[in-house]
């Protein structure tokens, strides 16, 4: 029995992890600058925004949904929190609360449309993607906001371990992954998320309020997008109305690279972290190698396929 339990995590995370390791080994042979703690701290910092968005995305995908609006909601949250602080002079905590409040509201709207009106998540979030984008542009007048109170930026500050400067936001991201991992594994609502994604009808028949589970997931995702807004503001030092345009595909890619099934019910959140790191490592490593950007795109395309193929093979091996 024990040996079976101990076998569960690998199937979900070993594959992506092997792919990540292979990528690291490859880049280490290509550039001596790659394998430094400073460089890894940097990669962590670069993936923190998409990493936190991908937590929300994983939750939604685990329920067999998908969220195209995540990046735009994150951008809106960033604009709201910076604009509230800059224009109305509210204190950082209040402004942050406003920003996260808005992203949570959008999560709630997504959730209500999915559960109450029973629309497909793809369509709902395609709609709210456009809506959030338009509101962002209108509210910000397409202008970047730069007078940001320091209280909103400290997640972008660094602390040192030895020579390595690590940004607080990266620590927050890792902490969130840990919390969500435990919540999904060890709590009743967490298990219900898997159950809903695995077999919605069976879950409903066991008497679980599937609508509430789904709604909760979308709302939580909104909260994570709000935290990602804050990280994005802290990282760039600005409220940027053009942020978030590619984050939806990036986040979904991280989730899928991490081994979570787009059909719901199967996957491990830590895989998503690994997936996000794979993307970050590719981008960083290829730049260090001096690969020009068209070739970077080409290589990324090939490597994405190879990474998942590795995953596939290592799973077969595990069986």
């Amino acid at each position: 029995m024990n040996s079976l339990t101990s076998k569960l995590p690998p199937i979900g995370t070993l594959g992506p992890f092997v792919a990540l390791l292979l990528a690291c080994v490859f880049f280490a042979t290509q550039s001596e600058r790659f394998l430094t703690s400073q460089n890894f701290a940097l990669i962590l910092q670069q993936v923190m925004v998409v990493g936190v968005i991908a937590i929300g995305q994983t939750l939604i995908i685990l329920t067999a949904g998908i969220d195209l609006s995540c990046g735009m909601i994150m951008a809106l949250g960033g604009i709201v929190m910076t604009k509230v602080a800059a224009d109305y002079g509210l204190s950082a905590p209040v402004a942050i609360a406003c920003g996260i409040g808005v992203t949570t509201l959008f999560g709630l709207i997504n959730g209500l449309l999915v559960t109450k009106v029973k629309l497909p998540p793809f369509i709902v979030t395609l709609g709210t993607l456009n809506i959030a984008f338009a509101i962002t542009q209108l509210y910000s007048n397409s202008q970047t906001i730069t007078d940001i109170p320091d209280g909103m930026l400290w997640l972008g500050n660094t602390f040192r371990i030895g020579d390595t400067a690590i940004v607080w936001g990266a620590i927050l991201m890792l902490f969130l992954y840990l919390v969500v991992w435990i919540a999904l594994r060890e709590t009743a609502p967490g298990r219900h998320v898997y159950a809903v994604g695995n077999s919605p009808e069976a879950t409903r028949l066991t008497g679980i309020a599937t609508d509430k589970v789904l709604l909760g997931v979308y709302v939580m995702a909104g909260v994570f997008y709000g935290i990602a807004s804050l990280l994005s503001v802290a990282r760039t030092g600005a409220g940027d109305p053009n942020a978030g345009q590619t984050e939806n595909l990036d986040a979904i890619t991280a989730v899928v690279l991490g081994g979570t099934s787009l059909f719901g019910g199967r996957g491990i959140i830590l895989g998503t972290l690994v997936g996000a790191l794979i993307v970050g490592v590719f981008r960083n490593g290829l730049t260090l190698m001096g690969v020009s950007s068209v070739y970077q795109i080409l290589v990324t395309g090939i490597l994405v396929i190879l990474a998942v193929a590795t995953d596939q093979l290592s799973r077969k091996g595990a069986r």
Partner: protein, 264 residues
């Protein structure tokens, strides 16, 4: 066991359920007495599953009334029925295939950890759930090696045992089983019958849908015969012959043609 003086635990009057042009239930009545095993039999498509889906809140009937302990109830969802203590094994096995046996057994009523961890953080006690699962499944004498195996890796009969064990373990008021022994071997089938008896002896009434006549005659206190979306008759297995029962079921005979003492 069954006694006309026993109060009615569940009752339904004139249930109608239509799917497009198909009328699955066509004014079905239903009565379940306290402490009895009521078998529901009928041809394929007679509306048995539709009937118990209505009783368990899985579908909302188009017309008709349902009473629980004499009170009119309106189940809008399985959650309502669950709350009222009604536990159901569905024919199409409501299990989450990718989740483990233990998780499936406790789905929706996980055992929480003691203290804050359980009450505030809703953390589950996996160890205890595992132990309990082993105990429950041992009751059914199913040879499953590991409770942490995903349900999708089980054989058809093993899967059915999971669903049966779940219902038996948690029912408070009424247990409904839609063909629980259909996929079971001789030994396992007998274990389930034994389990049903034990549930009844705890005082809970059981509704058992089955096509297995020997099983039905062995265990039922009364037999509800469904036909064409209606209740054709309720008979007493102690008094009626198997062939007469089948005759009513297939429409070869009507309830009026039966000897009065056969009816229950």
């Amino acid at each position: 066991m069954s006694d006309p003086n026993q109060p009615l635990v569940m009752q339904a009057k004139g249930l109608v359920k239509r799917y497009g042009q198909v009328t699955a239930l066509d004014g079905a009545d239903f009565e379940l007495r306290a402490g009895e095993i009521l078998a529901v039999i009928g041809d394929n498509g007679a509306g048995k599953s539709s009937l118990i889906k209505a009783l368990s809140g899985a579908t909302v009937p188009d017309e008709g009334e349902i009473y629980l302990d004499g009170q009119r109830v309106n189940f809008r969802s399985p959650i309502d029925a669950r709350r009222a203590g009604i536990e159901t094994v569905y024919q199409d096995l409501a299990v989450a295939p990718a989740m483990t046996i233990a998780e499936n057994l406790f789905l929706g009523r996980e055992i929480r950890r003691p203290g804050m961890l359980g009450s505030v953080f809703q953390m589950i006690d996996k160890k205890k759930m595992l132990q309990e699962s082993i105990a429950r499944m041992n009751d059914l004498k199913v040879g499953i090696r590991s409770m942490t195996q995903a349900v999708e890796t089980l054989s058809g009969g093993q899967r059915q045992c999971v669903a049966v064990a779940r219902a038996a373990a948690f029912a408070q008021h009424v247990v409904i089983m839609d063909e629980p022994t259909a996929a079971l071997g001789v030994k396992e089938g007998n274990m389930v019958l034994e389990l049903i008896r034990r549930v009844r002896d705890k005082g809970l009434p059981v509704i058992l849908i089955s096509h297995n006549m020997p099983h039905v005659f062995e265990i039922a206190d009364r037999i509800h015969i469904a036909r064409l979306g209606k209740r054709a008759a309720v008979v007493n297995p102690k008094k009626i012959s198997m062939s007469d029962t089948v005759a009513v079921m297939t429409g070869a005979m009507t309830a009026e043609q039966l000897a009065p003492e056969c009816l229950a």
